[in-house]
């Protein structure tokens, strides 16, 4: 078959090609990353010094809410789906995703969902202002009119995610090349299959939660209103039953990325492949029985608190196995430190720091002191920024030659890495201290005793924000202006079908006939 290649706007609107759709997901995610990041800049500017300088408290709440929603649903999740689209068919030797038209649809829902969500900023009463966790009754009885736009937006994102997940599962179970047994699949594919199952299990729960909100707001039900026989705490149980698996949805694919990149640059096989698979599956299973550790202060019975505390601490065991496996992969390897490797190692170290604070937060009696302070903010940003986002960034540098046939400038890549590394720590490490000193999260103003660490965090955040512009510059230059053609095998330690059997760049259609898997 000829390399059929539609052009112009129609190529992007009507495409069913997994590579095009992957690129669109990645660019969409980057745009959302910049918008959500701009909101973070507003937050950090306001918190640079005590006092109300730039925004009033209600707009500050809109910023924290929209920043969280956009980063979680607009930046991190689509970036992972983008990687899945690009990589899974090539890694399992399939010509495309199993359901290409649905693939197109699940992407094209997203711009509409986020236009809907972002438009709420310009409405009378402002955007949603109740935090990305939208606890009732602040989000139901007391929510601004734009809450209904938020609800519809969340429904659309959910539909998109569920379709994306179905596509991954169907593709992996039906379209593997002959000989590509499950236990031969690259770890990235494994982590994504498990992520897809998590998505299918919990996105409908989120849809249920926002639907109950909608009927509480407009149709006289009282699911979350004690005055009508409902229960605001039930909202939190439902939300976190979605919310906790959601954090693994955001991080598991990044685990997969690190498990591809670290062996490539250590020039040594991934240590403990099967224990990696089992650890990922255990983390996913455990993620369903730990949700109430987000709610230790809501007044659960002691027995409930004990159960959720112990179950949560157990997650550290399979997570530890993964970290030890990565270290063992590096051990006695023959390492070089190109940009993808740097981001991956930083990912392992900084994600582990987030894991340490996670164990601390799991301990209920001490969590009473950490809960809803900046310590929590530090914790989840450590697992999300140097976790999920460094993972994606590492993947982009690693597979960029495969996707575009161009090589990025190694010096610029390293500069991007070191700036990110310095600023990410400058931004989020001081938050541990302000949290321990007693600063609650989601406040626009604070006492002088928190001033030093907030100023540091703000300076770090501005640097981190500017660094992303450098990232954008590197990408644009590499993709459209670079003359440096990538060799077919830019990384001598890279393995897998996409590196062994395909040239750089990969042609528009790959594996029309199944490859031979050794």
């Amino acid at each position: 078959m000829a390399d059929h290649h539609p052009t112009g706007i129609k190529r992007w609107l009507f495409t069913t090609n997994h590579k095009d759709i992957g690129s669109m997901y990645l660019w969409f995610s980057f745009i959302m990353f910049i918008i959500g990041g701009a909101m973070a800049m507003v937050i950090r500017a306001e918190l640079y010094q005590p006092g109300l300088q730039f925004v009033e408290p209600n707009f500050f709440n809109q910023m924290t809410t929209m920043h969280g929603l956009i980063m979680v649903f607009g930046a991190v999740m689509p970036s992972m789906v983008g990687l899945a689209n690009w990589l899974i068919p090539m890694q399992i030797g399939a010509p495309d995703m199993a359901l290409p038209r649905m693939n197109n649809w699940s992407f094209w829902i997203l711009p509409f969902a986020f236009t809907l969500l972002l438009s709420s900023l310009f409405m009378e009463g402002g955007a949603p202002n109740f935090g990305w966790t939208f606890y009732a009754p602040l989000s139901t009885t007391y929510g601004p009119p734009s809450t209904d736009f938020f609800i519809l937006g969340v429904h659309m994102m959910g539909i998109s995610s569920i379709m994306g997940a179905i596509n991954v599962i169907v593709t992996v179970f039906n379209m593997r090349a002959p000989g590509m047994t499950l236990m031969k699949m690259p770890l990235f594919v494994w982590t994504w299959v498990i992520t897809a199952f998590l998505l299918i299990m919990v996105m409908p729960v989120l849809a249920g939660a926002v639907t109950m909100m909608l009927t509480d707001r407009h149709f006289g039900t009282a699911f979350f209103d004690a005055a009508g026989g409902g229960d605001p705490v039930m909202f939190q149980h439902i939300f976190w039953f979605f919310g906790h698996p959601e954090v693994y949805i955001m991080i598991l694919p990044a685990f997969g990325v690190a498990s591809e990149i670290i062996p490539a640059f250590a020039r040594k096989k991934l240590f403990g492949y099967s224990s990696m698979v089992y650890a990922t599956a255990s983390i996913a299973l455990l993620s369903f029985i730990v949700w109430a550790h987000h709610m230790f202060t809501v007044g659960m019975p002691v027995a409930g608190e004990l159960f959720f505390m112990i179950a949560t601490m157990l997650i550290a065991v399979p997570t530890g196995v993964k970290v030890f496996n990565w270290v063992a992969t590096m051990w006695q390897g023959s390492m070089t430190f190109e940009t993808p490797m740097l981001f991956s190692i930083a990912f392992v170290i900084l994600f582990t720091i987030g894991g340490f604070s996670g164990v601390m937060l799991a301990m209920a009696p001490v969590d009473f002191q950490y809960h809803d302070t900046y310590f929590v903010v530090a914790h989840f940003h450590y697992v999300l920024f140097p976790g999920a986002i460094f993972g994606t960034t590492a993947a982009v540098y690693y597979w960029l030659p495969k996707w575009t046939g161009k090589m990025y400038n190694e010096k610029m890549g390293k500069l991007h890495f070191w700036l990110s590394m310095i600023f990410v720590n400058l931004t989020f490490f001081p938050m541990h201290f302000s949290g321990l000193a007693g600063m609650p999260r989601r406040i626009p103003d604070y006492n002088m005793m928190f001033a030093d660490f907030n100023m540091l965090a703000s300076i770090g955040a501005f640097g981190l924000g500017l660094t992303q512009i450098l990232f954008f510059g590197i990408m644009v230059k590499t993709i459209w202006f670079s003359k440096e053609k990538a060799p077919d095998k830019p990384w001598d330690g890279a393995t897998g079908l996409e590196w062994d059997q395909l040239p750089c760049p990969a042609p528009y259609h790959t594996f029309d006939t199944p490859p031979k898997v050794s």
Partner: protein
């Protein structure tokens, strides 16, 4: 090799020294131990976990750094080929498991202790509402609101104010007074949205949930003033509803209770007198303005323009200018409006203040109705309510 080991040892010692001196120099680098038995135990457990995590971090990151230095291509051109070891994998599954179980034991003990609010010496109902706390002493006939001392208006919050005021955002008009060495049970609830009542130095944090009552407790051995904040996002002024607890000796507490009772009796008498007489418009307007600035301006703004649609404008509003709406106007101020942020001010203000603030709203900002609402009107409304 020996030199390298010495160098490594002295580097580690130096790093340890720098870290300890930094931690000692800055009190705000760590959690404060607090003053109660449970807060100190929570702090100790926190320190145990920190050290366990630090040791694990040093080992794991140490191995990674060693590997990055000695297993780089220039040092180790041929990589090893092993990629599996059941024994090693078993060991590093089981060791974290044992460490975690060891950490769980003290945590379970402390948790059970912290959640045991039985046999208290006294009980206090803590009610959160947008954006203040209300305390009611069950054994004494005392209840009061505790507001941020500065009015919740945007222009009040700036850098200069923060610098001049040591307790910026952490001072209230009425502190919660507790006797030392008594087991005090808090029954925590809320009127509107979820709030959370936190005093770090007592290690007490409990969500205040509308329609539900949560239980927690403390027993403070030392007298002193302990400050905290609301820790659950509760709307616009979430960052501006502090908790201030003042612990006094038992004798001082008894004295305070007696004084509060006298004040209450005097206030009831004064209110009755104020309500009995007829007020002229100027007096009502003067009292109304101060009351409005303290209670209403945070949402409805000093110029009555509000922040629609959440907080409607009062300037030019039908309810505040049409004569036949006076009763509706009194009703909304006294009882609040269900399902909105409009609180019931009936229990918070005296009849004279209620009459004054309604009069003020009907005459300020060009609403010039010329009508006055008298304390007697409020009493009549409450009687028929």
């Amino acid at each position: 090799m020996a030199i390298r080991r010495k160098l490594l040892a002295s580097l580690t010692a130096l790093l340890g020294f720098v870290l300890t001196s930094v931690v000692q120099a800055r009190a705000d680098l760590n959690m404060r131990p607090g003053v109660t038995e449970t807060s100190i135990e929570a702090y100790n457990l926190h320190m145990v976990v920190i050290w366990v995590m630090t040791v694990i971090a040093v080992v794991v990151f140490g191995l990674m750094i060693y590997s990055m230095i000695f297993h780089r291509k220039s040092k180790n051109p041929t990589p090893a080929t092993w990629s599996h070891s059941t024994l090693v994998e078993f060991i590093w599954t089981i060791i974290p498991f044992i460490i975690l179980i060891a950490l769980t034991v003290p945590a379970v003990k402390l948790l059970i202790k912290m959640e045991d609010a039985s046999e208290p010496d006294m009980s206090i109902v803590v009610t959160g509402s947008q954006w203040k706390w209300h305390y009611k002493y069950m054994e004494h006939d005392i209840e009061f609101f505790s507001n941020l001392k500065m009015a919740q208006k945007e222009e009040n919050f700036n850098l200069q104010s923060a610098q001049e005021n040591q307790n910026y955002l952490l001072e209230v008009d009425n502190r919660l007074i507790l006797p030392a060495n008594k087991k005090v049970r808090f029954l925590v609830t809320a009127d509107d949205v979820i709030h959370s009542w936190w005093v770090p130095e007592l290690a007490v944090k409990k969500d205040a949930i509308p329609g539900f009552i949560n239980e927690t407790w403390t027993s403070v051995p030392e007298t002193g003033i302990y400050r905290g904040q609301c820790t659950e996002l509760c709307g616009k002024w979430h960052g501006f509803m502090p908790v201030v607890v003042e612990v006094v000796t038992e004798a001082e507490f008894e004295q305070w209770v007696a004084q509060k009772n006298e004040e209450r009796i005097a206030a009831e008498k004064a209110a009755a007198e104020a309500a009995a007489k007829s007020w002229d418009l100027d007096k009502l307007m003067a009292l109304g303005e101060t009351t409005y600035e303290a209670k209403c301006a945070a949402c409805h703004k000093s110029d009555g323009s509000g922040t629609p649609p959440l907080f409607p404008a009062l300037k030019g509003s039908a309810m505040a200018i049409q004569a036949d709406q006076i009763q509706a106007h009194i009703a909304i101020v006294v009882n609040g409006k269900a399902g909105t942020a409009m609180a019931a001010f009936g229990p918070q203000l005296t009849d004279a203040e209620l009459a004054a603030v309604i009069t003020y709203e009907r005459n300020a900002w060009g609403n010039d109705t010329g009508e006055s609402v008298q304390p007697a009107d409020i009493q009549a409304f409450k009687a028929g309510n």
